[in-house]
Amino acid sequence: MTVQRDVVVKQLADIQIESTDEGLIPAYGVLVNMLPVAFWNTFTERILKAIPDERRAELEEALVNCAHECGYHTGFGIINSDEFKSVVEPMVTEGAKDILRGAYAVFTAWGWAKSGIVQIKEGERMVIRAVDYYESDGQPGYKTAFMIRGVSAAFFDLAYSDAFPDGIHKYKCEQAKGIEVGDPFGEFIVYQNE
């Protein structure tokens, strides 16, 4: 048996996300929030609109890096969490590949993207497809999945780079296709940083 995304997603989605009496949601070793998608997308769209053209690439990389650092630290928390150990680990039969598949199932269960790995060359390259993802909700005329790019690179760092916390930024991710620019799905390619 390998990690079956849909089974994992269903089980994780059944875990109730509820705030404590202090209004906080501690889970997976981090503090979780549950906010309207409109907030995240509006912020990204408006700050990109505010930036002069000559600084746009730098800002896009900064947006990706927010998700990269988040994905690296939270991803580590996820794959070492009780929730992951109880739901995903019993299905792990292919080492790092299956840990990655499990991480993408969590990624999906959090509502980030209905996504999965379609191709993987261990330690070298990975292709992700997402048939539904919240970052595609607007239609600004450019690819907007900065969060998926960052988290995907981070997950590959966790699987194939130096041990946490020293392995971040060995890999990067580019968005090849996007629903928001008219493609039928989003496609993301992870590869080694130059």
Binding site: G23, L31, N33, M34, I51, N65, E69, C70, T74, Y134
Partner: protein, 172 residues
């Protein structure tokens, strides 16, 4: 009054909904990093863009709740806003005030405590632009005023070592 919260997960799209509004889970790392990014881009208005993005995305949720649950008085509406804040995992809030403005106090704060967990210390100034926007949305919704009718200023901050974070809310 206990907030009625309907959390659903669409088994087809794998998306979350909170009282019918599309929602997503994120963590304190992402919130801290986006807040830091807004600070880093202060020259193009990053903190205010963050604040106003919150105001504009939270307001429809509050208005919708008031309508569907017949929440009538400003006091009840502020109470709903206070409870929604906790349900979202953003912390523990006390609100007081009237149409001219008021005060918001945070006993617990996802933004500040998340920042402390991530980086510790403080940067010598308040950073909770998220809650500034939330407070502006909450007061405008409670008193049925248009967006940007209220300004929130953070006058005490957990990240700066204060016991609580405090915001003064002023009608524009």
């Amino acid at each position: 009054m206990a907030l009625e919260v309907d959390l659903t997960f669409d088994q087809k799209t794998y998306r979350h909904y909170m009282n019918g509004f599309l929602a997503v889970l994120h963590c304190h790392h992402y919130m801290s990093l986006l807040t830091k990014l807004a600070e880093d881009y202060e020259d193009v208005g990053g903190p205010d863009i963050l604040c106003e993005s919150v105001e504009d995305s939270i307001r429809p949720m509050l208005d919708d709740y008031f309508q569907k649950h017949n929440v009538g008085t400003p006091e009840e509406k502020l109470k709903v806003g206070q409870e929604y804040y906790s349900v979202m995992g953003m912390g523990q809030m006390e609100v007081m005030g009237d149409e001219q403005g008021g005060e918001v106090v945070l006993q617990r704060s996802h933004v500040d405590q998340g920042w402390q967990k991530k980086w510790g210390g403080n940067i010598g100034k308040p950073i909770n632009h998220w809650t500034r926007g939330y407070a502006a949305a909450m007061f405008a919704a409670a008193f049925n005023r248009p967006p940007r009718s209220y300004q929130a200023e953070e006058i005490a901050s957990i990240i700066k070592g204060d016991d609580t974070s405090k915001f003064t809310i002023t009608a524009c």
